[in-house]
Symmetry: C2
Subunit: 973 residues, 2 copies
């Protein structure tokens, strides 16, 4: 399919992809492009009313089922989209009647897909339809669909049929058996089960009509529960129909059918669900966004690629990973390749390490399959499968069967020969550990992966007595055009590197976790002789590198193959392998994708052998012109982009980069209909951050940028995580200089101890609960006939409950019992009142500052005398920003004693001098200073004048400025 010259009707904005015209020729491509999801499932962008030959798909993580040839595949799940609008007897469909206006928008920031159509029915009735759908990121079992219907020029009957289609298919194959279905109240439910893997799936759906009196009917044809609403439409009056769908499988819960019904019953309204969706995405983007100024096409494309990766990443499941085509299509059947570890994972390791950990843990859980594969091939240890599904057993097809009865089957050799996957996984494990410092996971999961795959290599290498060296023959390297290679440089060096890291891992384990080391040595039979053999292999494994020329021969005899000039084959619209045939491509020096260059790319970060800029240059000049980068593998362009950027070929680099970035949106390779190119999307992030941003890890201070921004890029901003800290980069394009605005942990210019922690008072600082306290005290005082007012209340800031009451009663005497009762009563009033606290009660500027602190890697604690601090923090929705809560239960002595703040610092693991305190009360400021901390006082100087810095409030305060001011002057807002 030649789709290079697609005349796309797309508009790009910073955060939205907008389609302005419906083109039936592009439905399958656009279905992929407008995929939405939430990490639990992905749903292709098919229309609610469907379209002839549409390929609807909702694909759930981990729901694999048996299928011939490829053994297992992700089963397409029941379609939750069907919503048919019948306008005065005419069924709305895009291939009938007239489309007067059309706009479809994917809002990446919120993960919401919407569509507006003004349609004139065959009977001449005009109607405005506004569809909106999202898969809830906040509650992944919830799917929401809304349609607003407005008759433009008629009054008449509107009927809406909302169904679940229980006959989904994977390119014709339906993996499901309908077990049961039913209705309750005005809802319907459906129970299906996969044929082979026996996974149960429950769904429930309900329909709400707003702003019209509608009749509602539930019908239940087998496997096709349908809710039908009918109402009288009136010209100019919009009616909204909301379809809610819940979905569970037996992978999630014991009784998915009940769970779906229960969830549906307790669902909040659509607007609330939408708001939660927005918040959930805000949090994700806070870490993972990459912002570009000056190139809106690139800016959108980058975010688009990241969005597609984020909606495929399992947040709550460590037994699955991201398939090659994500959850967006049927290509590669939902199988997991090296694409994930090498291309996709860096984005997650650096911006969503918890998700990266889930996906690497998937490899830990599939060690069983890798071990079975090793046994099958006669090797030891764990030999990862080239294509992996739920068990980790090899699921790469052996044959590509012909459609023509006399055509030949094509033998696919990847399962047997493309063995570098085991080293690739080890590489990803190592990267994750290096970046996150997650020793626990390395001990529990990572080490076993690295070591047992090393055992495999030990059994896989061959010793060549003639040359007295180890060799690895009969492989496919990264370049898949050469199906039977000996001593592929990429493969051999990755094995060598892997064995080096295996020895490092064993040493580290022995030192840090000797029990675990012993356990694994026993389990994996890591005998001394094995270890010695690893060392021998490291020393003697053949890497075809010529130190004189700096050239690396891709594999034995590669330089003797027939040479090729790719320009001779231009123009073309298919791969060189398709042009020449498999055999002929095999005989030539033509690469499907970077191989030696891929090796150099993987060693670039650590600058290990054989990487050096000179070696890169030499090999680039040799291999780049021989690589079928346009129609070979989609894994190539992003990597070429990074390397070209390193070599100062900025324009070339940008070209490669955009080829990768647009592969799906603009269907650069003509196969986007099969699903998102996940590896390419991951490569796009690497190209931006490692390539243009030039991020490298330094041993001491973590990520450092050496940017080479493409021409026209004014600004590039992103964050990366390193060893517990967030590093925010804000790189300016014009000056071509790194502008890391928040490199932390460096002593600042003033020579002061760097600030590593901030301790916030709660009341009056982060929220206005001071007001709630005042009202509760006032009520108690009134009831008891005590003199109290706002002025008196000012005295209570930062004062404990007991001391506050003592101040209020003044000289009066009460029994301890009565006193206690009054304290309890006031607290009850207060607790009652704070029931309604929500994020909107945060004081202006508080949230921004908290986020900025977190992304700057500054630790945050709460230091509040209140015994209600925890619930208030939760209600304010800031729990995740606060590592330590020191509250009314933490210490005996209240402020102005320093105890509370000292406790907080200790819990944060910081010295008092490394902390600052933000306070609104004199007693608090006093306490901070007493603790040896600098204090930021909020409020009038007469109250907090003692503070190091005095501000009126946190509104508009940013961390950079505050940090600066703490070292110099007092700011007044």
């Amino acid at each position: 399919m030649d789709t290079k010259n697609l005349n796309l009707d797309f508009i790009y904005t910073d955060w939205s992809l907008i389609e302005t015209r419906f083109d039936p020729e592009k439905i399958h491509h656009c279905e992929t492009v407008f995929t939405i999801g939430n990490g639990y499932l992905g749903t292709r962008g098919t229309f609610e009313e469907s379209y002839p030959r549409a390929t609807n798909a909702t694909i759930l993580q981990g729901v694999y089922d048996d299928v011939p040839i490829v053994y297992t595949e992700l089963a397409n799940c029941p379609d939750w989209l069907p919503l048919i609008v019948i306008v005065d007897g005419d069924k709305f469909r895009l291939d009938r009647g007239e489309i007067i206006s059309y706009e479809r928008k994917l809002d990446l920031r919120r993960g919401v897909l919407s569509r507006f159509i003004r349609w004139c029915s065959p009977n001449g009735k005009t109607v405005d339809l506004q569809f909106e759908r999202f898969a809830s990121l906040a509650d992944p079992n919830v799917l929401c669909l809304r349609c607003q219907i407005k008759p433009v020029d008629f009054n008449g009957l509107i009927e809406v049929q909302a169904s679940i289609n229980g006959y989904p298919e994977n390119q014709g194959f339906n993996h499901w058996e309908v077990i049961d279905q039913g209705k309750y109240d005005q809802n319907a439910w459906l129970h299906l089960r996969t044929r082979g893997s026996r996974i149960n799936l429950g769904m429930a759906t309900g329909l709400t009509v707003i702003d019209a009196e509608a009749s509602l009917q539930v019908t239940n044809p087998p496997g096709y529960p349908t809710l039908i609403a009918a109402f009288q439409g009136t010209s100019g009056q919009a009616v909204t129909v909301e379809k809610m769908v819940t979905i569970f499988t037996s992978r999630d819960v014991e009784n998915p059918i009940q769970a779906a019904q229960d969830k549906l019953a307790t669902l909040p309204t659509y607007p609330i669900l939408l708001k939660e969706q927005q918040q959930a995405w805000e949090e994700i983007w806070d870490k993972s966004d990459v912002a570009v100024e000056g190139d809106v096409r690139a800016a959108l494309a980058i975010r688009y690629n990241l969005f597609q990766l984020l909606i495929s990443a399992p947040a709550n499941d460590d037994k699955v990973s991201i398939p090659a085509k994500t959850l967006s299509g049927f290509g590669y059947r939902g199988h997991v390749f090296w694409d994930t570890e090498i291309f996709i994972l860096p984005f997650f390791i650096y911006t969503q390490p918890a998700l990266a950990r889930n996906m690497l843990t998937y490899r830990y859980h599939t060690l069983g399959g890798a071990r079975r594969k090793a046994i099958h091939y006669g090797y030891k240890g764990a030999m990862y499968s080239w294509e992996s599904a739920d068990t980790g057993d090899e699921v790469t097809p052996r044959w590509l069967p012909p459609n023509d009865p006399y055509g030949d089957d094509i033998r696919i050799w990847c399962r047997d020969r493309e063995i570098h996957i085991s080293a690739d996984i080890a590489y990803a494990v190592w990267s994750y550990w290096l970046v996150t410092g997650d020793d626990d996971w390395m001990r529990d999961c990572g080490a076993e992966i690295i070591l047992d795959t090393a055992v495999f290599w030990g059994s896989r290498v061959e010793y060549n007595t003639k040359y007295e060296r180890y060799e690895i023959c009969g492989v496919i390297g990264a370049d898949e055009y050469h199906e039977l290679a000996n001593n592929n440089a990429f493969n051999n060096r990755m094995v060598q590197w892997h064995l080096e890291k295996a020895i490092n891992t064993q040493d580290w384990l022995r030192e840090k976790y000797p029990d675990k080391a012993k356990e694994l040595e026993q389990k994996l039979q890591l005998t001394l002789s094995r270890r010695l053999r690893w060392q021998d292999i490291i020393a003697n494994l053949w890497i075809p590198y010529d130190a004189n020329t700096g050239l690396i021969e891709q594999s034995d005899g590669f330089f003797k193959l027939e040479d090729i000039n790719l320009d001779d084959y231009e123009p073309r619209t298919k791969s060189i392998q398709s042009v020449l045939g498999i055999e002929e491509a095999n005989k030539r020096q033509v690469l499907k994708q970077p191989d030696v260059l891929m090796l150099l790319y993987l060693m670039r970060e650590s600058e290990e052998f054989p990487y050096s800029l000179e070696v890169l240059e030499k090999n680039w000049d040799y291999y780049a012109p021989r690589t079928d980068i346009t129609y070979g593998s989609s894994l190539g362009p992003a990597i070429h982009g990074i390397l070209a950027s390193d070599l100062g070929k900025s324009e070339e680099a940008y070209g490669y980069f955009m080829q990768a970035a647009m592969v799906d949106i603009e269907d650069v390779r003509g196969n986007a209909h099969e699903g998102i190119h996940g590896a390419s999307a991951g490569g796009v992030w690497q190209a931006v951050v490692f390539g243009f941003g030039g991020i490298k890890l330094t041993e001491d201070s973590g990520p450092v940028a050496t940017p080479h921004l493409p021409k026209g890029w004014k600004r590039l901003q992103f964050k990366v995580y390193w060893q517990g800290d967030w590093h925010e980069f804000d790189l300016k394009g014009e000056s071509m200089e790194a502008q890391n605005t928040s490199v932390t942990n460096n002593p600042d210019s003033s020579g002061q101890t760097p600030i590593k922690g901030v301790i916030f008072d709660l009341d009056g600082v982060l929220t206005d609960t001071a007001e709630y306290h005042y009202r509760a005290w006032q009520r108690l005082a009134d009831e008891e006939g005590l003199v109290f007012n706002r002025e008196a209340n000012e005295e209570l800031r930062g004062v404990s409950r007991r001391d506050s009451l003592l101040k209020i009663i003044g000289t009066k005497k009460y029994s301890e019992e009565k006193f206690q009762e009054m304290m309890d009563r006031k607290n009850r009033y207060y607790v009652e009142s704070i029931e309604n606290i929500s994020p909107t009660d945060l004081l202006p500027g508080a949230m921004d500052l908290l986020k900025e602190l977190r992304s700057s890697g500054i630790k945050v604690a709460l230091g509040s005398a209140s015994k209600n601090a925890r619930p208030v923090v939760e209600k304010l929705g800031i729990g995740e920003y606060i590592e330590v809560i020191a509250d009314g239960f933490s210490v005996q002595e209240p402020k102005p004693a320093p105890d509370l703040f000292l406790f907080a610092a200790q819990e944060l693991g910081l010295e008092p001098g490394e902390c600052i305190v933000v306070e609104d009360a004199g007693a608090g400021v006093e306490a901070a200073l007493a603790a040896g901390m600098r204090a930021v006082g909020l409020g009038p100087v007469e109250r907090v004048g003692e503070a190091t810095v005095v501000l009126l409030s946190l509104e508009g305060v940013n961390w950079q400025d505050l940090q600066a001011s703490l070292n110099s002057l007092v700011l007044h807002h």
Copy 2:
């Protein structure tokens, strides 16, 4: 699956298979068993309300669609069965509530499947449900389903949902795209299209509720049109719901969607459709029935097997054939094998030659595929595919893919090596021609098949210079346990035989149709050198037959293979190949199915080389004990049964026979769920007719019986067609003697010329239209004031209309104009009155005699003076029994002139002396005798006393007796 000891809850009657208990364990087996159909489609016996894991299927002839590995398959079509009864809120389903009584009956005589259930719902409501369904044989695009619902102990709401399920699947794969659907009046329609082959399918459905006031609603969820009826049920009152479905494809008509709607609109009522169904089946059974007395289990089983073949045979389509598993299941994907030509076709050739011709014409239409296959393998001519579908291209899978990721693919070699199929097809073509004498078809289709496949053999044989002989190496013979055989005796002799017949065919063509001969010689390049080579091959093709021992070696080296004693492996429940593995079975002298014995069977009919009873005996003793007859191929038992019968091993023969006859009903091999064993069913007919009946063709008088009836069989009746005549056999068991009641063409003992034709008068002989004539004359006479009565009417027997009127008017004079008007008027009265003539107007004994004559090969003509003879014959339903109609238009001179009968004899191609006349009028008897024919007079001696034989009527008259009496005495009944 071990199902040998199924405890079947079946009752067998002569014509019905009755299931008395529902067993969920057997649903898939029983779905196959209760398959119904009409040659256009087959529908498995799934339930209207479905059942978990049911495998619904409606399979249409010729509706193939693409699928991987096996290239194409018959697509399962939308299920027309869904009819859900909701009893006071509870959905009727067999796995809920309580089944109080249950009976399912397949009525083979009418092709109707019915089911009665008394069911108590989970809510305690008891209901009687009586389902009935059939696929109309009279109108193959019509499907009828009826359900009678009777509340037993409650009044309450009954809801019926009748759907078409547009999501059918072939073991999970859905071949269809939903294109459109809609409703009109109270009906719904659906338009689907196959994905690959782009066949359009239209269906329409309507629902009628009888005996209740019901609301009726049409809903249209995508792909699942559903009609919903609701009514108030009353205890003890039955309500009937009738669901009619029409179905067309673009293979039948241009616009199948419109055709389905039109057909539905003009459909008669259910009772009329049922009556037509009954009549259509009566006609079929009249030819094809095989009746056994004394063994009801065998009697039912035989009819059952014939029924399953009949419902798969294409009546109106010569581009399809019967697939190995008929239209009853997914086994072998609807592909056509040698099963059809060698096992199934004899039944059709001998009892439904028109259907046989359709199926052989399928092979003619698929010559293109056979030629492409030959080219692909580097041969010439036409090389038929081992598995064939719509185009005739090879669709045998190359590989059996493993389910286990590490299992090995199994290479299937049949497409490459099982080449005997081309000779098998030639064998069937030759048999068809031999039996039917259908020269036209042989000229137009058969010859090209035989000759172009002969061209293939000419290019396929190899010449062995060492032995100076032709050989055929690298084949699979009939026995598929040996996958690589050289000089398989079955294969080589069939090739030799094939080439012999090719030369005969060419000679015949040259003599009889020289133009066609030339055309084919040019088209197929039948050069002299080719013909000489064929003769050379015939003379020198190696057949491994040892004249000394009489033993035939299955293939080169077979006798040197390791021997086997099959008893050593008993008891077992799977094939020896499964027990030993493919390789080990290959190495042993064990056969999957008869091979040398199959050859002997195929040469048995013509007693050609190497067949002789001695050779059979020798080879039986060698090969039968080495054949895996129980779990090898289902093609074996029937053939073994016939040969055992020939060898006088009657009990053994019966055992084999019943193994074949019960293979599906009692699931003897445990795989009946995949569909009917078509070849076995065909073998059952051959075993009864050729084996037990001992039918052989003689050159002069056609089929002759030499029966060996199994013990207990009292009587065996069947018909066979030969060269235009029907031969009816009625064999008695006790005496073990042939009792062919109607051997014809033999001069009888009296020395009289044998009777070859019977000419019947119509009025008063076959029907009582004499009465209608009388009434018409009487009315005319009354209107004109003429004297006329019954007595006077007696004078008009056998008299023309003009002469009759002359007699009536007597002496009166009328103008010619008036006279003509009176004749016309009388005729109008008569024609009006005969409008209502039906088969019930046949006189007693007439039909029996007509049938007997046909099956005895006696030619039949009508000799009636009436100008209305043709319409009367049609209305009487005897058109097919009468070859020639001599009527009032045929000759000038009326009876008693001999002209009419002489004309009839001439048209029959007989001498007058070879004909007899059956007459009820003196003038007729006179005319017969004047024509030189013997006469049978019906009526009083005073009227027909001149006749050779005088009878009162035809009641109770049989041909044997009549023939005898014509040669001796006058009978009076």
